[in-house]
C-alpha cells in the first residue's frame, strides 16, 4: 500500500515465532524496523515492555499505534494488509481453512513438543536448572507423534503442509522444527519425507531463512564444541 509507514516489530531471534515473523517481513519486502528484546536478559519483563505487552512475550507488532501480539495473528494481519502472494494465506475459503486448521493445531503440537525438547536439552542445562530425563524422553516421544502426524496427514499427498505451495503454516512449522538443532539434534534426520519438505521450504525462503536462523547455528556450534 503506497505511503504506508513502516511497522515496528519487537523480536528475539532465539524465539521461533519471532523468526517466522522476520522471515515473512524480509521475504515479502514489507517495510519494518526491528527492536531486539533479549529474553535471556529478561528484557521482556521491564515495566516498559510489560506496558506494551502484559503477556511479556515476543513477538509484538506495532503498526503505527496498533499493537498486536501472537505470531499467527500478526502473520495473518500482515498477509491480508499487504499485497503478498496469495499462497501465504489464500483467499479461497477451503484453502484458507487448511492454513487455519494447521495454525490452530500447531500450538499444542509442533510448538509445544519441539519447544520442550529444546528447553530440556539446551536451556535448562545452560541456566544451571535441573533436567528431568523422564520428561525429556516423554517430550521426544510426543514430538515423534507430532512428526508422524505431519508426515501422514498434512504432507500426505502434497509438497507443503496445506497444499501445493508454501503458506504461513510451513513458515511457523519449520521455525519450530529448527529449534532442537541448537543442541545439534536433527529431529528430522530419519524422516526423508520431512527432510524433503524442509529443503523445499528453505529453498522457497532462500537467504531470509539462514539469516534468521544464524543464532540457532551459533548455539549449535557452541553446544557441540563442548561435547
Amino acid at each position: 500500500m503506497a505511503g504506508r509507514q513502516a511497522v515496528k516489530v519487537y523480536l528475539d531471534l532465539l524465539s521461533q515465532p519471532c523468526r517466522a515473523l522476520l522471515i515473512f517481513l524480509k521475504h515479502n519486502k514489507i517495510p519494518h524496523t526491528v527492536e531486539l528484546i533479549a529474553l535471556r536478559k529478561g528484557q521482556q519483563k521491564t515495566p516498559e515492555f510489560t506496558k506494551l505487552n502484559p503477556m511479556q512475550k515476543v513477538p509484538v507488532l506495532d503498526d503505527n499505534g496498533f499493537v498486536l501480539t501472537e505470531s499467527d495473528a500478526i502473520l495473518k494481519y500482515l498477509a491480508t494488509t499487504y499485497n503478498v502472494p496469495d499462497h501465504w494465506y489464500p483467499k479461497l475459503p477451503e484453502k484458507r481453512a487448511r492454513v487455519d486448521e494447521y495454525t490452530a493445531w500447531h500450538h499444542v503440537n509442533t510448538r509445544m513438543h519441539a519447544s520442550t525438547v529444546f528447553l530440556q536439552e539446551v536451556i535448562f542445562p545452560m541456566m544451571g536448572q535441573p533436567t528431568n530425563p523422564a520428561k525429556f524422553e516423554k517430550a521426544l516421544a510426543d514430538l515423534n507423534g507430532t512428526l508422524d502426524m505431519l508426515e501422514n496427514m498434512f504432507l500426505k499427498r502434497q509438497p507443503f503442509l496445506c497444499g501445493d505451495e508454501i503458506s504461513l503454516a510451513d513458515l511457523l512449522a519449520v521455525c519450530e522444527l529448527m529449534q532442537p538443532l541448537c543442541s545439534g539434534r536433527d529431529i528430522l534426520k530419519d524422516r526423508p519425507k520431512l527432510l524433503s519438505w524442509r529443503s523445499r521450504v528453505q529453498s522457497a525462503l532462500s537467504d531470509s531463512f539462514d539469516e534468521a536462523h544464524s543464532v540457532v547455528y551459533q548455539i549449535r556450534e557452541k553446544f557441540t564444541a563442548k561435547l
Binding site: P54, M55, F66, L68, T69, E70, S71, D72, A73, I74, K76, Y77, T80, T81, P93, E94, R96, A97, R98, D100, E101, T103, A104, W105, H107, V108, R111, M112, A134, K135, K138, M149, N152, M153
Partner: protein
C-alpha cells in the same frame, strides 16, 4: 445441504461450534459422537479427521478439523453477521489474537481442572498430588487474571461492543471447570458480568442446552461405566501426571 458436524458436547470446542451454528441458523446434520467411548479412534472417524479430535466437519467432500478453523470457514461460507469475525482487519486481528493465545493458556488450564477435580479422582479412582493440584489452580488463576487485564479490560466483550468468536471460544473453556464444581466466577465480578452478557447474546436457552453435559458432569461421572473408559486411563495419567 450436506454439512455434517461431528460433536461431543462434553468437549469445549464442540460447544462453541454447536452454539455458533445454531445461533446463526446454519442447517447441519448433527453427528453426535462419544469421546469417552473412543469413537475418535475408529476407522470410520479416521476418514473424517485423522487428527482424531472433535469437533470436525464434512461439507460435501470437504473435511475440516480444529474448532477455530471450522468457525472461520462457516463465517465465510454462511455470511454470518460481521461482528463474529469483523471484516475490518484490525478488529479481525484482535479476534485472531485471542483465538491464538487461548490454545496454550485458558484451554489447557481450564481443561485440566475438569480432569483433576472430577474425572481422574472419580472415574479413574486416582488422587491428584497436592502440589500438582495447587500448580494447576494457580495456572488457571494466572490465565484468568491475564484474560481480565488484557482481553476484557473495561469492554463489554473481548473485541469491543459486540460479541465475536473470541468470546464464544473463551466462554466454553471458562465453563469447563464449573462442571467440576469449581466456581471460577467467585470473587471475579467482571468475569461473571461478561459471562452473563455472553450467555444473553447467545441466548440463555441455547447456552444452557449446549452446556447440559457440563452441568450434569458430577452426576454423570457417578454412573459412568468404569470399564468403558478404562482404555483411556494409561494415556490420561501419562499425559497429566508424568
Amino acid at each position: 445441504m450436506s454439512l455434517e458436524i461431528y460433536l461431543d458436547l462434553f468437549s469445549q470446542p464442540c460447544r462453541s461450534v454447536y452454539m455458533f451454528a445454531k445461533k446463526n441458523d446454519i442447517q447441519f446434520d448433527y453427528k453426535k459422537i462419544s469421546l469417552f467411548e473412543g469413537y475418535q479412534y475408529s476407522e470410520e472417524y479416521g476418514k473424517i479427521n485423522l487428527l482424531r479430535k472433535a469437533p470436525a466437519i464434512k461439507d460435501g467432500d470437504f473435511c475440516l478439523a480444529e474448532s477455530v478453523a471450522i468457525m472461520l470457514y462457516l463465517t465465510e461460507k454462511f455470511h454470518t453477521p460481521d461482528h463474529w469475525y469483523p471484516a475490518d482487519l484490525q478488529k479481525r486481528a484482535r479476534v485472531n489474537e485471542y483465538l491464538s493465545w487461548q490454545h496454550s493458556t485458558i484451554r489447557p488450564h481450564g481443561s485440566k481442572m475438569m480432569w483433576f477435580k472430577l474425572l481422574i479422582p472419580k472415574a479413574f479412582g486416582t488422587e491428584i498430588p497436592k502440589e500438582k493440584m495447587d500448580n494447576a489452580v494457580e495456572d488457571l488463576n494466572s490465565s484468568l487474571n491475564l484474560f481480565e487485564e488484557k482481553f476484557l479490560q473495561d469492554r463489554p466483550f473481548i473485541v469491543g461492543d459486540q460479541i465475536s468468536l473470541a468470546d464464544l471460544v473463551a466462554i466454553v473453556e471458562i465453563m469447563q471447570p464449573v462442571g467440576a464444581g469449581m466456581d471460577v466466577f467467585e470473587n471475579r465480578p467482571k468475569l461473571k458480568a461478561w459471562k452473563d452478557r455472553v450467555r444473553a447474546e447467545i441466548g440463555a436457552e441455547l447456552f444452557d442446552e449446549a452446556h447440559q453435559a457440563i452441568f450434569y458432569a458430577q452426576e454423570a461421572v457417578k454412573t459412568m461405566d468404569p470399564e468403558k473408559i478404562e482404555h483411556f486411563k494409561p494415556k490420561i495419567l501419562r499425559y497429566f501426571l508424568s
